[in-house]
């Protein structure tokens, strides 16, 4: 039954939510007051409206009382609006004529005074009754889907998401800004809590992604622009010039072995050098070099060209230009990962100043068998062996005043791993760890930490390090043991700072291109922290991995799988159903002034000139599929032509009026 009748029969169902609402709000009184309103045919209460009997009560009452619209006075619409809309639909009503009056989060939870809270709950509910009376019966919008996906970021999260989508049978583009996929995980030595070698478990996945018939790897590429909407995005990808024709290149390595220009290797965290033409690491996928033009003698000084001379197949192409390709895609997974908070920001620890104060990631390269030292722990300053080592946890994390307010989550565990691996390599060495708290929530994590302290005898001191400075060959660490209250001074060979992690560089630009939100710390903001953790607020865009918040490998991989399953479930139907609660342009009112057009963040509006009865008619034309119902146009529209469906201004005034009564 669809109803746009002028004499509505509204049913109001007030939920107790156990004592969540009924503990503060007199729900019976709310029902009693609401039942006096014009157009309200029924008002009743139930202890848990969302429960099966609650929903049944709703359906039966809708039928018995011949209701055509429904208000549920309960919790936030973000929680159960869908539940109740579906229930109303099952009872034969139009789901968009079912509204939620939020008397829990907006009322009972934030008030203590019973009488006043009840009055407020009545006003909230009255206002929503006024809204539902004007709500029109609407039908969902159907949008076709392009069943291809783009995954941005080729770390372990991106690789996993791409593999899962590709294995589901859909074409997936994996976009990576560096020349190889692998991300941060490729740099790690062993992984907690099982101590598998990181490369051993990652590289097979990299190869699988590269060989997968449904995956197209686009490395050394970046997202240039994004337009379109869920199911039908158009993504422009900028392929940066590699200066090497990868179709010809066999990856023999002659070029980078002969290249005379040497610069610090990013992959090795500056512990060794790489050539200007290089692959980041030997297991790179694809195993093809690029020329770093900023450090190449030819590009900088016009000399050299040795790589061109040694390349037997003539793959070097100094004139290569960047290329822009446009990809049609139905879904986008953002997996752009993290970076370490810059060491230089920790001046109190001599970060960036003392060569023997290093970050956790650099220590991973020292530990790694494929690292520049072959896994030997040495001092970067002089190459001498390390006997006393200090690990400083929360370096930049949990520091509201100076650095990052949040817990970077992975550092407690990797520090435990670092200390353990150090002790495995340097049997007579001493590993000191400074911590605020040790957080080991995760499967087998606490046991791992126990091994570090009890079996490998790493010495944990509870307290924050106040200062690190150089004294001769040593770095001196000053801290306080907060359990004993004593000052602690350790003269160490090496200090490893468990740096806070933050979103990758460029996340802000990407966020603007994708029109998604970021939180106060710069991480991607999910649609709901608990119930929609891998979805953005923009439909069709999903998250995987540490770009959304600090995450370890198991979590990143499971989130990648979750994002992929969201994409796959979207691709399982041929049409998308979209909520019709979007903008509407009244053609009879729109004068074509154009104010709204530039403002629409989704580019859903365009200027159109048509001819009607021989007269030129200007107006803004809406693309329903693009519109997300944000309301920007409607608030800006100076003539009132742009309105929000079921949220029209005149209805809002009615809603406000009953609140002010």
């Amino acid at each position: 039954m669809d109803s746009n009748s002028s004499s509505p029969r509204v049913g109001v169902f007030v939920c107790h939510c156990g004592s969540n609402i009924a503990g503060t709000v007199d729900v019976e009184k709310v029902a009693q007051e609401i039942s006096k309103m014009e157009g309200v045919a029924y008002a009743g209460t139930y202890i848990y409206m969302c429960s099966d009997p609650g929903q049944k009560l709703m359906r039966e009452t809708i039928e018995k009382e011949k209701l055509d619209r429904v208000v549920v006075a309960a919790c936030s619409p973000t929680l159960h609006e869908k539940t109740f809309q579906i229930n109303s639909k099952n009872a034969g009503l139009n789901p968009y004529q079912c509204e939620i009056a939020n008397i829990r989060e907006h009322c009972s939870w934030v008030h203590e005074d019973n009488k006043k809270a009840t009055e407020k709950a009545i006003k909230i509910t009255k206002s929503i009754v006024e809204k539902v009376k004007e709500d029109k019966s609407l039908t969902d919008i159907e949008v076709p889907i392009t069943k291809k996906a783009i995954v941005i970021g080729g770390g372990v999260s991106g690789i996993q998401a791409a593999l899962d989508i590709a294995n589901g049978g859909y074409k997936t583009y994996l976009i990576e800004k560096d020349s190889s996929i692998g991300g941060k995980m490729a740099k790690l030595s062993e992984t907690f809590p099982t101590l598998d070698c990181s490369q051993c478990i990652l590289t097979p996945k990299m190869v699988e992604a590269s060989n997968h018939p449904n995956i197209e790897l686009m490395t050394y590429s970046e997202v240039e622009s994004v337009s379109g909407y869920v199911g039908n995005f158009k993504v422009k990808i900028k392929k940066k010039p590699t200066s090497v024709n990868w179709d010809l290149c066999t990856g023999c390595g002659d070029c980078y072995n002969k290249c005379p220009a040497k610069v610090p290797s990013e992959f090795q965290e500056g512990l060794s050098k790489r050539a200007a033409i290089y692959i980041p690491f030997p297991q790179a996928v694809p195993n093809k070099p690029v020329i770093d033009r900023e450090n190449c003698l030819y590009y900088q000084k016009g000399i050299c060209k040795i790589c061109e001379k040694v390349c037997k197949i003539g793959a070097i192409d100094f004139d290569m230009k960047e290329d822009i390709v446009e990809i049609d895609t139905g879904a986008i997974v953002v997996a752009t990962g993290y970076r370490e908070y810059p060491l230089e920001n920790l001046t109190e620890y001599g970060g960036g100043k003392y060569p023997n104060v290093i970050s956790g990631l650099k220590f991973e390269r020292l530990l790694s068998a494929s690292g520049p030292t072959g896994g030997q722990i040495i001092r970067p300053s002089d190459g001498k062996s390390v006997k006393d080592i200090v690990f400083v946890q929360c370096a930049g994390s949990r520091d509201i005043e100076e650095h990052k307010p949040y817990c970077s989550k992975i550092c407690c565990m990797y520090t435990a791993k670092h200390a353990m691996l150090f002790k495995h390599k340097v049997h007579d060495g001493n590993a000191y760890v400074f911590y605020i708290d040790v957080r080991t929530a995760g499967k087998d994590y606490e046991e791992f930490y126990y091994r570090t302290t009890e079996e490998d005898h790493a010495l944990y001191t509870r307290g924050k390090v106040s200062k690190i400075f150089e004294d001769g060959e040593k770095v001196v660490v000053w801290g306080v043991d907060t359990l004993t209250g004593k000052k602690v001074e350790i003269k160490a060979d090496l200090a490893v700072l468990a740096m806070a992690i933050e979103p990758s560089v460029g996340i802000k630009e990407l966020q603007q291109k994708l029109k998604i939100s970021i939180d106060e710390n710069g991480f991607l903001k999910e649609a709901h922290p608990k119930l929609r953790p891998v979805e953005s607020m923009t439909s069709g865009i999903f998250f995987a991995g540490a770009a959304q918040g600090p995450k370890d490998i198991p979590e990143s991989v499971s989130q990648a799988g979750a994002a992929a399953s969201k994409v796959l479930s979207m691709f399982s139907s041929n049409m998308l159903h979209k909520e019709p609660l979007i903008c509407e342009i009244d053609e009879d009112v729109c004068s074509g002034c154009g104010v709204c057009i530039a403002l629409c963040p989704y580019k859903a509006l365009e200027a159109e000139i048509t001819t009607k009865e021989g007269k030129e008619v200007k107006r803004s034309k809406l693309n329903e599929a693009l519109c997300q119902g944000c309301g920007t146009c409607s608030s800006a529209c100076p003539s009132g032509a742009a309105t929000m469906r079921n949220d029209e201004t005149k209805n809002m005034f009615k809603m406000i009026e009953v609140i002010l009564e």
């Binding site: 009244d586 009879d588 009112v589 729109c590 004068s591 074509g592 002034c593 154009g594 104010v595 057009i597 530039a598 403002l599 200027a607 008619v617 200007k618 920007t632 608030s635 800006a636 529209c637 100076p638 003539s639 009132g640 032509a641 309105t643 201004t649 005149k650 005034f653």
Partner: protein, 323 residues
């Protein structure tokens, strides 16, 4: 055929609306052919006493211009309502308050102090101010009370139709006469002008509204081909009802909004502020700190006079609160 009885009245207005009736030129003769004019202060001497003696509803259509500023305005509005079958708010003052209602930024005391004491050319050592009654040798003199707040006609009596404009343009006046005299009446409450905003009839080229800064009309010679807003000159056209024949635009001056809001809008000024705030420097939004935003906004001189020049009395806020 019996002639219709029509009346004109002026309340608080400049007199321009009275003249606007004559702007229809020789067509006034057609009107006179079909109608008796019972009252027309600018042209005829009709005494209030005679008006009061008329039977109720003996005037077929009364065109009432001017806002309600004094007790006299209000009294006449009420009498004319009783005597008229159809009461038309004629022109912006009766419709929305117009320029006289900008006095709602002040009150009676502030206005009297300024007018009778503070103006540079005034000598008033005894602080004499107008009184509603005053005893003279000849007897007691009464003058109307001056209100604190200017009101629109429909804020004091029921109004049937509205003719917008400062003043209403000849085309809409003629159209209204034709409709009333032929009995072809629109629904009660209709504003007798097109529903779309002025941009609908404006021939200027429009681009996406990306306005970096604001110019006052004297600061920049406007390109007559291009949309004023696109050039950074505030034009009320997007928020103003069309039907005026875009005369100001033709004269290379932006619309100031005299035809009032479009029917879907509640508050013309608020709508235009919202529109302008939305598009102003939208491209550079991220670069602007609070100071720069303030500088930009401060380029709008006299915001009430810009956005509420005609509609203050009929807006949400209606007047300034003076404590």
């Amino acid at each position: 055929m019996t002639k219709a009885n029509i009346a004109f009245y002026w309340a608080s207005s400049c007199g321009g609306c009275e003249i606007a009736v004559l702007d229809i030129n020789e067509k006034i003769l057609d009107v006179i052919e079909k109608a008796n004019i019972l009252m027309w202060p600018v042209a005829m001497d009709t005494k209030y006493e005679d008006l009061k003696k008329m039977k109720d509803k003996s005037i077929d259509v009364c065109f009432f211009n001017g806002a309600i500023r004094t007790s006299e305005n209000e009294e006449l509005a009420k009498i004319l309502r009783e005597k008229s079958k159809i009461l038309v708010a004629f022109g912006s003052c009766a419709h929305e308050g117009c320029i006289p209602a900008l006095a709602n930024l002040f009150n009676k005391k502030l206005i009297f102090d300024r007018a009778y004491k503070e103006t540079e050319t005034t000598m008033n050592n005894e602080d004499t101010l107008p009184q509603t009654s005053f005893m003279t040798k000849e007897g007691e003199v009464h003058i109307p009370e001056f209100y604190d707040t200017v009101k629109t006609l429909d804020q004091v009596v029921d109004v049937d139709y509205y003719l917008p404009g400062c003043p209403p343009t000849p085309n809409i006046v003629e159209d209204a006469f034709n409709k009333f005299l032929s009995g072809d009446l629109p629904p009660k409450g209709t504003v007798m002008a097109p529903v779309k905003a002025l941009c609908d009839e404006c021939p200027r080229k429009k681009k996406d509204k990306m306005i970096d800064t604001i110019y006052r009309v004297y600061e920049k010679e406007a390109d007559p081909e291009k949309c004023f807003l696109d050039q950074g000159i505030i034009c009320m056209g997007p928020a103003t009802r069309s039907g005026c024949g875009h005369q100001c635009i033709k004269g290379n001056m932006p619309c100031t909004g005299c035809f009032g809001k479009t029917p879907e809008v509640t508050d013309q000024g608020a709508k235009m502020i919202s529109a302008l705030a939305s598009v102003l420097a939208v491209e550079k939004e991220l670069e602007l700190d609070e100071k720069k935003v303030e500088d930009l906004i401060s380029k709008i001189k006299d915001p009430v006079g810009t956005f509420y020049r005609y509609s203050l009395a009929s807006s949400f806020i209606k007047r300034k609160v003076i404590k």
